[in-house]
Structure formats: C-alpha cells, structure tokens
C-alpha cells in the first residue's frame, strides 16, 4: 500500500495529493475545482468543527444561518471589499431550465432571467450586515456574537484538494460591537481561540501575527492571522480574524443609539477557518507511509487487529481480550474499533490503518496472549512494543497523550530549525532557495518594497508577529531604516 505513495523527497506536491486521495480524505469531482469530502475526511472535519464550535460557544457566540446568495449590488457597497471578492465568483443569472426545443436534454430558459444577478457567497459580510441593520437600534442590542458554518465559493483557476478549492466549507464569525476597543478585543480573542485550537488539537504550532496592509482582508482595518510551517518549508495561513472598523456598518448604514442617546456606527469583526485546515494537518505531520493524525481530532484513535487463529479456543481468547479492551477504552472516552473482518489479512489491515493515520494499533495474536501481552504500535514514530494486558487500557490512554505531545514537539522543533534570521538580500535569496522556512528580516514598511520582494522571490510577508520585539535595522531590499523584523516565507 505505502508503495503507492510518492515520497516527499521525490515530489512533495504529488505526495500530498497521494495522501489525500489514498487515505480516503477526499476525491476529485465532476465539477471543476470542487472536491468530494469522503467519510474519513468528513469525520475529521466533524471533530475539528465540534471542538471549535464548543470554543465559540464557550466564548459567548451563537450559531445562525444566512442566505447562500448575495444580491450583486451588495458587493459594491464596500469599496475595498468589492475589489477583493466580487471578481472571481459564481454568478446565478437564471432560475429555470426548459426542455431543449432541438431535442435531448435541458437548456437555460431565456425568459427566466433574474432582474438582479445573485452571487454565491464568497464570504458573508455584506448579506449579514444588511441583516444586522434590522437587528440593531440601540446599545442594548449589542454585542451580536454570531457564527455560521457554511459552504462558500470563490472561483479559482488553480485548485488543490483542501488547500484551494472553488467550494469549501468553513465557519465565519460576524460580530457587532458598541465600541472600537471591544471589537478589537473580540478580534484578538478569536485569534487566540484559533491559535489554541491549532496547537492543542491539531498539534500544529502557529505564529500569531498581524498582516501588512497589502495582505489585509478586503474591507478590514486590521487582519490578524495564525501562520504555520509545512514540512517543505512553505508557510500556510491557518486562520484569520479581522477588525473591520465601521466599514461595513457605514456601507449598510447600521447605526445604534448609545447610552447617551447619540447615534454612531457599529463596530465589526469577522473571523474564519476552513477545510483548508485539513490540508495544513496533512502537510504538518504525515509521512511517506500515509496520513498521521493527532489523537485529539482523529476520527478513530485506536484500532484492534486480531491475528486470526484456527484454534477456536485461542480465537475465543483473542475476541474476549478485544471486547474487554474495547469496552474499557470506550469507558475512558477513547474511540476504538475491533476490526475482525476475516476477508482481509492482518498485513493488509496494518497498511490500511497506517495509511489512514490511526494513532494506535493493537495487534492481538494467540502466542502473545499466552504470554499475557499485546503488540502496540504508535503511528507517529512507527515504534512497536509488547505491552502487558494488565493495564493495557491505561497504557493506551497515556500513549495517546504522548503521541499528541510528540507531534506538537516535532512540529515545533521543525519550525525552530527552519526559522532563520537574515540580514542581507543575498542571504535572504539563498536561504529561501536552499532552506526555505520562515525568514525573520528587516523591511522598510512600504507596500512597494513588499511587492518588489514578492516579485523577485515569490516570498511574502506572512505577518508581523504579535509582541514582536523592537529592533533597529535596515531593510534587506532597500537598506532603509526598519524598527522590527517581520516574517517572510513562500506560502500556500
């Protein structure tokens, strides 16, 4: 099975596609740029969604649902927003088909043309702020802390499974506040929620930072982000949280009366993460044998594989141990499957669960059981050990925690090793080409220089880290003075 996966060293990009397809996460579809999320991939997304949803609710948010379609004119209301989002999108122009008068099939009915075209939402600020106008009159109606889980569509010319697809699943939080400070606090709070989720559940260390003006969300005053480093040394933006100022309130005329009865525009935030996170997860931990999943979000944490015995007594003993272990692990909150399908061999199952990234595999064989031990294999390191049956359940619970920590530790070590401080242009280019990773370098603070560096090297400023220390220096490209280092990388 593992032979079917291209190795990372051979072709990283092909390795990624192989992992996604062969581990059963997703599949290509008949619709250009859209994918099918297969059961294993969707179960992973459900686990991620459920954890995030709990974190959103614990911070006071409620879910709601807004229309899939946005009237075309709404997109033009906010000047920066339309530039960012109105261009590459799916446009609904008609609402009926009819039988083809020239024979087979159906054609668009020209008489069913919409007066105003509808856009399939690329993001929902406009339709939501148009709704908030009806919900907000007074400070008593604030804050509004709403999130929606939805599908969105951005027409992409070059797509990649999970990382960039025309349709994707995400959540988008849209909050409304009475003051600027409260909105900024919300923006930062949700960034921290994303960072905690990435680190504690996905085992992916992230840099918390703020985007430069060039890289900001279209319509935001500030875009905060978390940035992760993939195994090929490229960065991946894993989540963003936007402080929108009063831009959308002004565009949709959403004003409120404060306690002093003065009218003011409402302050806004929006924040989102998407199925792209699954791409980040794959590229952060997986290896040439397949997917590697952190136990805290794995759809299945433990698989028990019997080495079938022809001796009925021995087989009964295997089943008995498996059933007992299954019950014990379930009682401890561990997801577990006893795969006693007798149409496939143990070796095939081992490879299959390895490919699917199941964190722990327990093999039960008659001879091992005679010695009161089982073979326990951990997916992250591939290490197998012989473990006493007595205490096996507890051993596995501890092992799952170990795997979670080890994945994070490894990813953090990788990032540390692959973050470089660079002070000259030559070194910058050399490091980018030979080592990749994050580069902490001085920049003169202008959009022109940022753009020029991108043109020359394809590297972008991923973010200005939060709590970045002040440091005098000279811009690597222009030599102009700089007061802090920023983080560059080539990125997904």
């Amino acid at each position: 099975m593992s032979k079917e996966i291209t190795s990372r060293a051979t072709d990283y990009s092909q390795w990624y596609n192989d992992i996604v397809l062969k581990s059963g996460l997703a599949d290509y579809s008949a619709v250009k740029g859209c994918m099918v999320i297969k059961p294993h991939g969707f179960a992973l997304w459900e686990n991620m969604r459920d954890v995030l949803d709990r974190m959103f609710k614990d911070t006071g948010h409620q879910n709601a649902y807004f229309p899939l379609f946005i009237p075309k004119s709404f997109l033009s209301r906010e000047a920066a927003h339309v530039e960012g989002f109105a261009k590459e999108c799916a446009v609904v122009t008609h609402y009926r088909l009819k039988n083809d008068p020239n024979g087979g099939g159906v054609v668009v009915d020209p008489e069913a043309k919409l007066e105003e075209e509808l856009i399939v939402r690329p993001t929902s600020e406009t339709i939501i702020w148009n709704t908030y106008k009806d919900w907000i009159q007074s400070y008593r109606d604030l804050p509004i802390l709403v999130n929606q889980w939805a599908n969105v569509v951005r027409w992409e010319m070059r797509t990649r499974l999970f990382l960039r697809t025309t349709e994707f699943l995400w959540q988008e939080g849209h909050t409304a506040h009475a003051t600027r400070d409260e909105a900024i606090e919300e923006t930062r709070q949700m960034l921290e929620v994303y960072a905690r989720f990435a680190e504690e559940y996905m085992a992916v260390p992230v840099i918390r930072g703020v985007k430069t003006a060039n890289e900001r969300f279209a319509g935001a005053e500030d875009t905060y982000c978390i940035e992760a480093l993939m195994q090929d040394g490229k960065a991946l933006q894993a989540g963003t949280s936007h402080f929108l100022g009063q831009n959308f309130a002004k565009a949709f005329d959403v004003q409120f009366r404060d306690k002093q009865n003065n009218l003011d525009y409402v302050w806004a935030t929006s924040w989102g993460v998407s199925t792209r996170l699954i791409g980040a997860l794959v590229m952060a931990h997986s290896d040439d044998q397949g997917l590697v999943l952190p136990p805290r979000i794995a759809p299945l944490q433990v698989v028990i594989v019997p080495i079938m015995s022809k001796d009925p007594a021995a087989q009964a003993r295997i089943n008995e141990v498996a059933d007992k272990l299954t019950a014990e692990l379930r009682a401890k909150g561990v997801t577990v499957k006893y795969d006693n399908d007798d149409t496939t061999r143990p070796g095939w199952k081992f490879a299959e669960y390895e490919m699917k990234g199941i964190p722990v595999r327990v093999a039960l064989g008659a001879r091992d059981l005679e010695n009161n031990v089982a073979e326990v294999a951990r997916r992250d390191t591939g290490v197998k050990s012989s473990v006493q049956l007595d205490g096996l359940g507890d051993h596995i619970v501890t092992l799952l925690d170990d795997i979670q920590s080890e994945l994070y530790r490894r990813a953090l070590e990788f990032r540390t090793t692959n973050t470089h401080r660079v002070d000259t242009w030559d070194e910058f280019v050399k490091v980018l080409d030979e080592k990749a990773g994050f580069i902490a370098a001085h920049w003169d603070g202008t959009g022109e220089t940022e753009e020029k560096i991108k043109e020359l090297t394809k590297a972008t400023i991923r973010c200005i880290p939060l709590n970045n220390p002040a440091e005098e220096g000279s811009c690597i490209l222009t030599g102009k003075p700089s007061s802090q280092r920023v983080l560059f990388a080539r990125a997904y």
Copy 2:
C-alpha cells in the same frame, strides 16, 4: 408581548408567521425566497440535527460532502428526475464580474461564460451517483451508507418561512446496495428512524405510509413518507425515504461484480428531512402566546427568573438558590439559564420566554423562599404551581418528561379526533371544508381519479398507510371497486 401575535382563530397563516418571527426563529432576508435562521431557530435545528445524526450513525451511516454544483447535463440523465427537478432551479452561467465600464458597481463579465452551466443542487442523486461510479466495482465495496448535511436550492414562486423556502438546510442519505431486498430494507429502516425522531423527540405523531405513483419522488420506484397533522387540520409531509431501484445506477452506469462474478447494476435509496421540520414543530404545538417546544429538543429547557429584591440578604438568598438549582439541573443533563439581567422586569421576561417556548420557568421571589418554595410554570399548559425547594431539581426533571409526553398525547388526540372515515363524495367534500383533518376513504387506485379529486378539492392522497388493513369498498369519486382506504388531506 402576546398581544402582538395574531390568534389562530383570527388568521392561522398570519399566526404562524408571527410565531416564527417574534419568537426569534427566523427572519426574512434581502434575497427573495431565502430566509435567515436566527440563533434561537438555529439552536433548535442543531439539536434536531444532532439527534438525527446520532440515529444515522447508530444505523451504520457515515457523513460525507459532495459539491454544491451539478453540471446541467447530469440532470438529464435520469428521465423522471429531470422532469421533477431540472425546471425551477438556480443556474450559474458565469464565473466572474467586472467593473461596470459605464460607472458604478459591477457587471457580469460576458467573457467569463461557463461552457456548461452549473445548477445549484436541488437534491444530489446525480452528482453522488456519478461519484459512486468510481467507488464501486465489486460487492466488497457495498453497501455504501452515506449521508450529507447540506443546503439545497429549489426555485419557489410562493415561499413560507421554514415550510417552503428557495434555499433550505437538510440531510440527504444516499445508499448503494447489492440487492433489491437490502435496498428496500434500508428505505424502510430510515423511514422508521424518521418516524421515531418525529414522535419521540418532536412529540409529533406521524402516519408511516407509501406515496401513490403520482406523488413519488422523481426517479424513485417507491416513496415512503411520514405524514403529520397540523392544528388547522392540514397535513404536512415530514420526511421521505425513497427506494430508487436501479434507476440512478443505470443512468450513471454504476455496475458491480457480485460474488459469482456477474455484473449487475447497483440498488439505491435516498432519504431526507429538512428545516421544514421546524415549521411542522411550530404548527403542531404552539399556541396564541407563542412557541411551544418539546423539552427533548428545546435549545433551553429551563429558565430561572428572579423576582429581584431590594433587601441584599433576600437577594443573596435568591441568587444562592438559583445557583444551586442551576448546578443541580446541569448535573442532571438539563439545560438551564439564570436570567438575572436587572434591566428588564420579571413580567417582560415571563412573556419573552413564553414566546420563545422554553418548557419550564422557575420564578424565585423572596417571600416564596421564606416559605421554602418556588413557583414553577409549565409552558405547555400554562399551569403554575408552588413547589418545595427540597427536591425541586428532581421535580423539574420529572416535569420535563411529563411535558414531553403531554405534548405527544395532545397531538395524538388531536389527530385521532381529526381523522375521519368517509364513504361518499358529498361527505368527503363536507368533511374537508368543515372539519379538515385526515380522511380515510376508498379510491379506485388510478392516477386520473387522484388528479381529479385534487382538482376538485385541493386534497391529495397523503399516503397509503403501511400495514393498511384490506377492506372492500367503492371509490368515493368513481364508485369503482377498491381494496383499501387511503389517507386524503389538504396539505402544506
């Protein structure tokens, strides 16, 4: 507050809209026919979704996600399906907008026309069976038991909140089987899952039945359904489960090799329920004071309202009792909120929670507490009682069960009272107009007669109940012989 609701007697239809809008379930949107599901409505949907999702998983199903868009040509592949679904739908014809050369705003870029139009899914049989073609080669790949939670779009000219909206949320199960019998068994199993959900969680009794050929899903060999009766005597189809035969397998050429290595087409089912269920829930239980929610799916089961005291010691005692009760109820798995907002009065809160359908309200006043009692009000009957603090938590848990049972009992009694056996045409018309409800009557079994009855009375055959007793009789319209009664009603 309740004065704002039109009474059922005055205008049932307006009453329904008032309830949905004023209880915070949903709102109209800027997009014709689409609605905004507000936090209270979405929390209800989440609870319904979570219960159903657990029932689907307990019967071996997994979730997946398929594209929002369907290539236009796919719809034409199954002859009956295209007639049913290809006509009123949202058609994506372009993938880009551009700045209007004549000034303000954006216009559709004529150069960005799709070669083949994409349809926003009205249901996903076609795109899914096109995918299953790649997933199924042998009997070993079967069954496929997949469900998806998704939004779908059917262009509707006349829409009603929840009951009929252009976009709605639903789940659609799509399964693939090696044999006809197994597929039929699956179809019936999922019908039973829906019926149990409606009765045990929504407290809505349903008739399990099968549709006549005229009312079948477009592309199905048999459509099973559950039918509920609303308070105005109209029926509402609350869920359907379709046996699709080999129709979609043939349309998308999905064949498999059986154990004997013979090629055959795969057998299919599909089944779905939608946010329409929320409309059914509203119309089954609510009253002229607002929403009435069954405890098992209510977003909030218990609200505790303090009668604020100016005496600090008395107020401290109120808070203490509230906190203790809150903790006790949460430990028993009950959702509870202590609403100690001091900017609104108790009377306002009572009306608000009544409107929102919260099953149990506990009022805590200083004088009551001196007597070691609290006032407990149940939303379904409006009955208030004074309950000893000692054992209050257990009392509430029992009361929630009582409310759940009572709602079901009441709805069942209503249905029994409003189900009429009718044997003549005159009586049929008279009962329809004067009493409404379900009418059990003889029908000659032809589509023509069914159509004629619909034209004359707007009543349709809701279903042929499962396990319907054989009974000789004469068709109410034609007088031709009939072997069983079927259920007629006017319907949503």
